[in-house]
Symmetry: C2
Subunit: 506 residues, 2 copies
């Protein structure tokens, strides 16, 4: 029973002192709810109608999970629930929602598994085993250090190679909890995928199609803006030409231009240069030079700088203070920090440095909850926390998303944005899967459309637009899309469920 | 490298602006550490020596886990790590430590498994299967509703019955993660144990020995005071005599008296009457009467009132407001609340009622983290949170204790006490196992003897002593024991490690 109803019932049946109790209780619950992300939003009359429907389907799905927790999808491993998520009414609702921006995703895992796999049907793709590990690469004529065989031929000889290749492209397995028992194990598998995928997608024609598709998949998921992290790996042609970092950035920009011409209602994309944190001093200084060059060539496209790779295996931010400091005022920072459960270690302390170095957003911030003073600073400095629910689960940081620390950030209205990190590697596409987890698992049974609307607003608010014009364009475009979504919903709903809607709209 | 050392190194090798950075960094980390539970304690010179040793063994164990997470015991299921815990140097250190009080444990799970099992060798114990479930009971001559067989005889016929009985006494299984996939499943197993154990331990002579042993096991683990929750189940004699709730409380008091005579340095025990929350209105009013009667008969022994049983299956506190309100000023409350991951449900809201009803402590408070306003009230009202780490893991609330919400409570110095909930059911004894988990898993790599000392102080501070005399006696006894522990440690250490200590003590 809803507390309000309880109060009303009791107001007529009890002595004065208990009535006070129910009033206090109601006020306390209200006060708590008033702090949650999205709770300050006032919905329009039309939005309220949509919200009513959303509350109904959320509540059905929640109660279904409450009765049997295996049906409460955020509590189970995503590899086991993917099909159920895709059948969920709440998920389908979220898919249609204009979600704003995706602010945390990596260059090598931008597209869905199916598209990635289809790339292996391109001409000139060769396969070989080098020191026991499978490799793919495009050649006009393969080099001789490995026994390369044309994949087309290999398929004829052994058709089962397709299953094998698929398995090399993602972390998906039948028994994830047994296969990946620790963060270290799953990161190893992660790097193996990277090694197979990287030479496949860095062939220039594929590279362009891949990035185009990445934008398209976001667009299809009603995401209109992207900030992605990338290594700027060497891109190659069949004739031996290779492109350096600046040229590769140029390739992205050309594709983006083309995509925006084809989709004028897509706002754009920016780039966060994010090379490996497992780097010595000299390499780190090279990163600095690259950032400066990129900034010179593509001041609009380059949003900022970050370092990537498993925080445990690479070096902590404190090893790079001098280099990072030298970039102050030149670019903004978007550091991965606190993607760890190792409390009190160097990895954990990356959060201290990220914040002291004035990071604009924090990647993950999973461990931030363990740092009260840093939490306070994040709020004061208005640093957005890029939360990636499915990533954190698949990479074994948290088993049941109901124990995810972001629940605390969301509760107290920290600047949270929901992102997808590496969708290819766990078989998602766009933002809807992660938004679903956030809506069902990282917030209360009672959060509603206001929560989702705030997530969209946050995603744009914490985007690094080049100027006010771009920002205003993005916001007004999003608002237009949002209104259209509400109107479309009401119209479709009316067709399906005419009588109900009429009553509500009266 | 420790941040301090880093700062010192860099102070000599870098420009002014970076030195500022390292100084700010160090101050920030210090400020964070200054908020953690125990950080305000100033150690004596002797304690510092002991602390140095503790830091060394903790650090070795932590690093060992960092290298391979299966060796980081709080991250793994307790059923797999019990033997390793018992071999840990940190655990052995904690065992010897005067730990103060155990403030959350239940009447039917007070003793270790071995003692419980040995009780089955008593005379007149019969076994039978009733509707497929195994039962044990003492009779002079068994009643006829079931085919009772003397257990002694059953053992002769089928010696494997011992393994069977052992398995009925605890939740311990080889594959806990596969056996107990949800809270619901493990609670069912939990109730099955209860059904077998209850008739065994409510035979009057056993009941007395059982409670005596419960106190003894705490005493052996260097715990000197107990507040336990109980149902006051009917206790029986072979001749058909049964004891009612008040008489059963009397049995406890007699045993306690005897135990204190035998152990004058044991402070005592008090009782929290905690009947089942799955109760209708009339039953709840009966509870009220029982509380009043108990208070009348045993004002010192009765510490307060609570309701028990799975929060999800029973009724929420809000169903009993009238009854509970009628007990205000008569007894204190110690409500189980927020032992749930179901955010936004009635179970979750038990926290609201517990706090509004002025509970003196909260049992578990696992979900408290999800309620910023309630957290604030808990701090203002100085309500202690009874954290039971192993219980929460075994009952599947959290898999890896590094994700336990109590880390947040501990960080910000909320009034946390560490308790053991149902040690029989997961094969622990005393408080040391749970303290080990708290020290290694619920706090930073850097917490030390001050943390453990504060846990002991908190346990006494939030005990419900009858008066200042009792409180002062407890504190001064504990201080004496603490000093003795420090001195004993230094002496033994000196024998083992003479040279080192001499250097440190200079
Ligand atoms: Zn990332
Ligand atoms: Zn309990």
């Amino acid at each position: 029973m809803h507390p309000m109803l309880f109060y009303v019932l009791l107001a007529f049946g009890c002595g004065v002192c208990l009535c006070d109790y129910w009033k206090d209780r109601e006020e306390l619950i209200k006060e708590e709810e008033s702090q949650i992300l999205g709770s300050s939003i006032k919905l329009t009359h039309e939005e309220e109608v949509v919200n009513k429907r959303l509350i109904k389907i959320k509540s059905e799905e929640f109660n279904n999970g409450f009765d049997n927790v295996v049906n409460f999808l955020p509590s189970q491993h995503f590899f086991k629930t993917k099909a159920q998520v895709e059948n969920s009414k709440v998920f389908k609702f979220i898919q249609k929602l204009p979600k704003g921006a995706n602010l945390h995703v990596h260059d090598t895992a931008l597209v869905s598994g199916k598209f990635l796999f289809n790339l292996t049907y391109r001409n000139n793709l060769y396969a070989c085993f080098r020191n026991g590990s499978f490799q793919l690469k495009f050649f006009s004529k393969p080099e001789s250090s490995c026994k390369w065989i044309l994949l087309k031929k290999l398929r004829q000889i052994s058709p089962s190679v397709d299953d094998f290749i698929s398995s090399k492209f993602s972390l998906i397995v039948d028994n994830p909890e047994r296969m990946y028992k620790s963060v270290d194990e799953v990161w190893t598998a992660f790097q193996d995928i990277f090694a197979v995928v990287s030479p496949l997608i860095t062939y220039r024609p594929v590279f362009e199609d891949y990035f185009y598709r990445a934008l398209e998949e976001l667009y299809e998921d009603n995401v209109m803006y992207l900030e992605f992290r990338g290594l700027l790996p060497e891109v190659y042609e069949l004739n031996g030409t290779v492109y350096d970092e600046v040229e590769v950035a140029g390739l992205y920009i050309n594709v983006l231009k083309k995509f925006k011409e084809d989709h004028p209602d897509f706002v754009g994309a920016k780039f966060i240069y994010a090379p490996m944190r497992l780097a010595d001093n000299a390499t780190a200084w090279k990163y600095v030079e690259t950032v400066k060059t990129l900034k010179e060539y593509y001041p609009d496209f380059l949003a900022g700088f970050d370092l990537v790779g498993e925080e445990k295996k690479g070096y902590p931010l404190k090893n790079f203070i001098e280099q990072i400091k030298s970039l102050e005022g030149i670019v903004k920072f978007f550091f991965h920090a606190g993607e760890t459960k190792w409390y009190g270690t160097d990895i954990d302390e990356n959060l201290v440095d990220a914040i002291l170095l004035n990071t604009s957003r924090i990647g993950h911030g999973f461990a931030l909850l363990k740092h009260p003073k840093l939490l306070q600073m994040v709020k004061e400095k208005d640093i957005a926390i890029e939360v990636n629910p499915i990533s954190n689960q698949v990479l074994t940081y948290v088993k049941d998303l109901r124990n995810h620390p972001a629940i605390f950030y969301i509760n107290q209205n920290y600047p949270v944005v929901i992102c997808n990190d590496d969708p290819s590697f766990w078989g998602t596409k766009g933002l809807s899967y992660d938004w679903y987890m956030a809506f069902m698992g990282l917030s209360s049974k009672y959060t509603d459309l206001r929560f989702l609307k705030q997530l969209a607003i946050n995603s744009l608010k914490y985007s690094m637009f080049s100027n006010d014009d771009e920002r205003n364009f993005a916001f007004s475009l999003w608002e237009k899309k949002w209104k259209k979504f509400i109107m479309d919903f009401l119209q479709n709903q009316e067709l399906q469920d005419y009588e109900n809607i009429k009553v509500v709209l009266v």
